[in-house]
């Protein structure tokens, strides 16, 4: 865990040894968690640290970065053929902040192509494997980040969450994943999939670690117009428990479609929290059933526009003979994008096109407003302080099991996407196992109330052993 690693480093352990131990693990691994390694640069940075250690919240700490977050000088390919070879000339704001606090970037993690997926199977580098069972998916789209952290191939990682892409793999891999409030963490440098929904957040082995990384990456950024001011100090406020808090249990998040083992684990977690002093009550989020449809229309529409810039003219994939520009553009796009990305671009283009905009996109925005109001109502003063739900309706499925059935994959996001539509913060923490596969508990808070979310998650973690379990691929 981050904190232990920091203590070791502060006590004089060699950063170079820590980093090279990580790389020997990564290089032997068959999980395919990374698609680009920055071994040389990371080791050099670690040696510099050993020569004269610097300060900072993450001084000397190695970190893995999802491949959709721009890193100056390190290929950032979004696991897409069309961006292979693209090396950004600038750092994302979160990367600048990590570096300012002394962190060492070890590589870029595998993901669903352009963050489109729930299983990390749409990567052009092939699927990442779940450390608990290599035949299963790690979840997506930040599956590489989650698998790396779960398998000890990185002490912490950054992911991005558009409709559950941090929480889903955290849940499937048995680790902690936090999606902050929309606007809390700068998106500058995050290769956009669906701008109005996505947030960068940490994937870690403990809630404390998540708070620590959040302290580093949160805060206003003048380069992102949607960026908010942050009160910060999450790590410092993590103790305090759940005594006196009211937990809301949304009735729409239980029942049909949910694995009974998952449901049981979540109810057990609710009882555990009750035992820690919280009370709970049933609440309703009545527009939940429209969330998936609205989410996919908004996300695909934005994606169709965001991904139009990839044409091979300035960077990325280049084919042999150039013809007139439209033929060249379409050839490159045909060869560079995978099937899921093409599907979403086409659907998004359709949803935004003249005559359909009002029927689909505008309607989806209206649904989004209703969903946001659902959450505001459920989390209003006098209502619940936090909501508690399963993160995913089932544990990790087998590689290949659902990839041919996009709709069933989209359905898997049913408990995570409403949170992105509402823009509220949510965390997934391990809350048990189903046939040896991790189950995630989702704790949802009010806008910018990360402190309460983290406090409850920390209290729960402290009272349960699930986060200490080690996946079998690692043993």
């Amino acid at each position: 865990m981050l904190r232990m690693l920091k203590e070791r480093l502060e006590a004089g352990a060699s950063a170079e040894e820590e980093v090279s131990a990580l790389f020997s693990k990564i290089n032997k691994s068959r999980l395919n968690a990374y698609n680009v390694l920055s071994e040389e640069a990371a080791l050099e940075r670690a040696r510099e640290y050993d020569r004269s250690p610097w300060g900072g919240l993450l001084a000397g700490v190695p970190i893995a970065i999802k491949s959709s977050i721009s890193t100056k000088g390190i290929e950032t390919n979004c696991s897409s053929r069309i961006l292979t070879g693209y090396i950004p000339p600038y750092d994302a704001t979160v990367i600048e902040r990590l570096k300012e606090e002394g962190a060492i970037i070890i590589g870029k993690t595998n993901m669903d192509e352009f963050a489109m997926g729930t299983s990390t199977e749409t990567s052009c580098f092939g699927p990442t494997k779940n450390p608990w069972d290599a035949d299963r998916v790690p979840g997506g789209s930040s599956g590489g980040s989650a698998a790396a952290v779960a398998a000890g191939e990185a002490p912490c990682a950054l992911g991005s969450d558009t409709g559950g892409s941090i929480r889903c793999p955290a849940s499937f891999c048995g680790i902690v994943g936090l999606k902050p409030t929309y606007g809390l963490v700068s998106r500058y440098g995050l290769v956009s999939y669906a701008n109005s929904l996505e947030q960068i957040g940490p994937l870690t082995l403990s809630v404390e670690d998540a708070a620590l990384v959040l302290d580093v990456i949160a805060g206003h950024d003048p380069r992102d117009s949607t960026s908010a001011r942050s009160e910060g100090g999450y790590f410092a406020r993590i103790e305090g428990g759940v005594d006196g808090l009211t937990l809301g249990v949304p009735q729409e998040y239980f029942g049909e479609g949910v694995d009974p083992l998952v449901e049981k684990a979540v109810w057990d977690a609710i009882s555990k929290l009750e035992g820690l002093g919280a009370s709970w009550k049933k609440v309703s989020l009545p527009h939940t059933r429209y969330a998936l449809a609205a989410y996919y229309i908004i996300a695909m529409s934005e994606a169709s526009s965001n991904l139009a810039r990839f044409d091979g003219l300035r960077y990325g994939l280049r084919l042999g003979a150039d013809q007139d520009w439209h033929t060249t553009f379409s050839d490159i796009r045909a060869a560079g994008f995978g099937p899921e990305v093409k599907r979403r671009i086409l659907l998004g283009t359709y949803a935004l096109s003249a005559g359909y905009y009002g029927r689909y996109y505008l309607k989806a925005l209206k649904v989004r407003t209703l969903i946001k109001q659902d959450f505001e109502r459920a989390l209003s003063a006098g209502g619940a302080d936090l909501l508690v739900t399963p993160t995913m309706p089932f544990p990790a499925f087998r590689i290949g099991e659902r990839i041919e059935d996009p709709l069933s994959l989209y359905m898997a996001d049913v408990f995570t996407v409403p949170i992105n539509l509402a823009g509220v913060p949510a965390i997934s923490v391990p809350c048990g196992f189903a046939d040896g596969l991790p189950i995630g508990l989702q704790i949802i808070g009010r806008h910018f109330d990360e402190a309460a979310v983290l406090r409850a998650a920390k209290a729960y973690e402290g009272a349960t052993p699930y986060h200490e379990a080690v996946p079998k691929e690692v043993v």
Partner: protein, 480 residues
């Protein structure tokens, strides 16, 4: 000439090129003399992950323009994405305004064909980013390859859209001249920079289909293209050829318009609100911007007439460019305003236009000295024009040139009265035949004598003056 059945509307793209930075990033806007792609950054190149941040000063400038064009400023304004592919558009969408543009429903006064003042309505004024620029290796249709220069990418543009209120190519040009004039007064725009103003014009005959002539970069070009279109559309109608709604390109070299696409190929731009930019509340800015609005051309013209007592035509000419107006005001402080108005509006502006140079090539000090010399009778009007030309044709820092020194070296000073008188007396004495002819009633014979005077003074005498003196001498002698 104004034609009742001609309907013209304009869409004018104006670069806010007096800003220091682009619309959504901090890149410098001073790119005109720079190598390609040297004024770019990850944001204006649309690199993956970059986000736009609105340049507040650009919004302020846009509000300034919208107010000057008498638009209603919207309390809240919003950016949209206009999606289309083109190699000069690195994000494959342009950030622009769609619903909720900055300004709605303005107007500009122009002088119509009949000399009457006409109010041309403005539909809307909105902000958008400029794309880059393609440089073709050869002509657009035959180039083997094209190069892209992104220096212009992300420059702040204003689009000014008129109602179809214009009735002739000349009116369209008057509108553009007036618009440019106002923009320069607002200090947000330098019309002399390449690509500063680019115009799409819509033209139709009553009852006919509309043609859009795209992307013309000069006011003269717009006038010519529209004149061509009127002829073309009329002749098509006469021949009974069906017109289609289409987009045309103005070929400046050949002076004709050619079709580029018909309506069936019209784009679907899939506009939607730009998710990376939050709506802007600008209602609170407006009073602040309004308080700082400068005097505009129409107001200045009225003031010049009232304050300096000059003719309306002179006032109009002097205020048609802010820099000329400012020049005039400096000169009028130190010289007779009416004399100054005539010399600047009628003479200096003509010489500047002829040489295609701006007023910066001349200094108010120089003008004051010249007017002084004219007033004191030290030089003739012809001599004064010669001084102005000499200054403008001079090399280097022409504003340093001293008019008095030019008068001396070029021998332009009006010769002393007694020297002229002596020459007149000598000429009369020498030209007995001409004197006789004149006395016999041949009026033209006087020209010969004046010619002799000019010769004797080596051209320094004023011909009119010499004529008067010769006449006096002859009549005096006759009476004696």
């Amino acid at each position: 000439m104004a034609e009742k059945d001609v309907i013209i509307g304009l869409e004018v793209h104006v670069q806010l090129n007096k800003l220091n930075s682009k619309l959504f990033c901090g890149c410098s806007t001073d790119y005109h003399d720079s190598p390609p792609n040297t004024h770019t950054c990850p944001v204006c190149l649309g690199l993956p992950g970059t986000l736009p941040v609105v340049n507040k000063r650009a919004v302020e400038y846009a509000i300034r323009v919208a107010l000057a064009l008498n638009c209603a400023i919207q309390g809240e304004t919003l950016f949209y994405r206009k999606n289309y592919y083109y190699p000069d558009l690195p994000k494959a969408f342009q950030i622009t305004q769609y619903d909720f543009p900055l300004g709605l429903g303005g107007s500009i006064l122009i002088k119509g064909e009949d000399g009457e003042e006409r109010r041309i309505r403005i539909t809307r004024v909105h902000m958008e980013e400029d794309p880059g620029r393609l440089v073709h290796a050869g002509t657009i249709d035959r180039a083997k390859y094209s190069m892209v220069d992104y220096n212009r990418c992300g420059m702040a543009l204003l689009e000014v859209v008129t109602e179809p209120d214009l009735r002739s190519p000349k009116e369209a040009r008057s509108f553009l001249d007036k618009l440019r004039n106002i923009l320069e007064y607002l200090d947000v725009f330098d019309g002399n920079l390449e690509g500063a103003m680019r115009i799409d014009s819509n033209i139709s005959l009553v009852g006919g289909e509309r043609a859009e002539v795209k992307n013309i970069s000069s006011h003269k070009g717009v006038e010519k293209a529209l004149a061509y279109e009127i002829t073309r559309q009329r002749s098509a109608r006469r021949r009974g050829v069906a017109q289609v709604q289409e987009t045309r390109h103005y070929d400046e070299l050949r002076g004709i318009t050619v079709t580029i696409r018909t309506k069936e190929e019209a784009h679907d731009y899939r506009y939607f609100p730009e998710p990376d930019l939050v709506p802007m509340r600008i209602a609170d800015w407006v009073p602040r911007v309004e308080a700082k609005l400068p005097e505009l051309p129409d107001a200045k013209r009225e003031r010049f007439v009232a304050e300096y007592g000059i003719a309306d035509d002179h006032a109009k000419s002097l205020t048609s460019e802010i820099r000329v107006a400012n020049f005039y005001e400096v000169v009028a402080e130190r010289a007779p305003p009416r004399l100054a108005a005539a010399w600047i509006a009628d003479v200096l502006k003509g010489e500047l236009n002829y040489r295609d140079v701006t007023i910066e090539r001349f200094s108010p000090d120089q003008m004051v000295v010249i007017l002084d010399l004219i007033e004191g009778g030290k030089i003739t009007e012809k001599g004064a024009v010669e001084v102005i030309r000499t200054i403008l044709d001079g090399p280097g820092e022409t504003t340093e040139a001293d008019p008095a020194a030019i008068v001396a070296t070029k021998g332009l000073s009006r010769v002393e009265d007694d020297a002229v008188m002596a020459a007149v007396r000598a000429a009369v004495e020498e030209s007995s035949q001409a004197v006789a002819d004149y006395r016999a009633g041949n009026e033209k014979a006087i020209n010969f004598i004046v010619g002799v005077v000019m010769k004797k003074t080596r051209g320094r005498a004023d011909p009119g003056e010499a004529n008067r003196l010769v006449r006096e001498a002859l009549e005096g002698a006759g009476r004696a």
